[in-house]
Subunit: 168 residues, 2 copies
DNA sequence: GACAGATAACTGCTCAGGCAGATATTGCTG
DNA sequence: CAGCAATATCTGCCTGAGCAGTTATCTGTC
């Protein structure tokens, strides 16, 4: 569980192979998972992004549009439109904050909660099937490694953006 | 290295948390990696997708448009246009096959090879920095786990598509 | 308390990428 | 060898998402 010490570089120009590149693997996984998940929601006409937003609000990961956009590394404009749709269909509700009148708080409605609950088993089954040949320890490890990598790349991204802003 | 035996389900409806979901982690990583990589190529006006295509052709992962689309789990129409751009800029070349006149073979040009070579160090550095706190064993493990998961989900996707086609 | 700078949400513009259909070619089957 | 299904590529269309700019609000400074 403890993080390792600094090492010499993992990749090198000579030995690099696309197939063993994490970026390649993640891109392909994403390209498969998104439509795969959307197929699960086909009868509800639900997008994977919409699902993620609904779950993020339900689980209290994000309370406002901005937080949502930051937590999902998503454009804030696109997030606004995503929330528009979910609100129009009655799964979320917007409420202007009283403390800071710029922000709009998001809350899942009873309908939204019911929908999330009814779709959840499909998602669970999808992932359990995908992980069928993984031991619990391996699944845990995969999640832990991805989480660490995410934190690392997130920090790097913030750093880069800060530099870009300072350059202006 | 050996794969584990069948287990009871890893996820359950009660304990599911978005933050611990592999789909969520992969989506976020993808959302960070794609623009991050594109920033590396900014001066070459290169897309991450274009980079992946160029590398796939260079490394012989794919020889034709169709293979490319399959290997990257990408739309074939979009792939055509990607190749259009890379060809127009002189990085790839199309050549109609003589054995099967439907297929168009792809080959990287000297210019394309030179570009790939010149950009490679940036990509290597990006990933080595991202993996700085991972031991070589951990990095290997992450790649191995992602590869297994990819194979699994890929098989499932093919199965699903076959069923969908049979239903017609 | 006026002004500057930051932040939240939203809107118009543009474009990559997915979907469905068109065309050319091949292979299979009777 | 006629006909039909499958395959490879390409094209038109449309949606989703990123970018830049707008408005409203807040915070900090002098």
């Amino acid at each position: 569980m403890d993080s390792a010490m600094a090492n010499r570089p993992f990749y090198s120009v000579e030995k690099f192979q696309a197939r063993r590149s994490i970026g390649y693997l993640i891109k392909r996984l994403n390209n498969l998972i998104v439509p795969g998940a959307e197929a699960l929601f086909a009868d509800a006409e639900f997008t994977f992004s919409q699902w993620v937003v609904l779950m993020a609000v339900r689980d209290g990961i994000a309370d406002t549009c901005g937080e949502l956009a930051r937590h999902l590394d998503h454009d804030s404009g696109a997030t606004t439109r995503l929330v528009d749709q979910l609100e129009k269909r009655g799964y979320l509700r917007r409420r202007r904050s009283t403390e800071d009148r710029r922000v709009v708080h998001l809350r899942i409605t009873a309908t939204g909660r019911a929908l999330a609950k009814s779709l959840m088993p499909r998602v669970i089954d999808f992932w359990n099937e995908a992980l069928e040949e993984f031991s619990p320890a391996e699944a845990q490890q995969l999640i832990a490694l991805l989480t660490r990598l995410l934190a690392r790349i997130e920090a790097r991204t913030l750093e880069t953006r800060k530099q870009a802003r300072a350059a202006k």
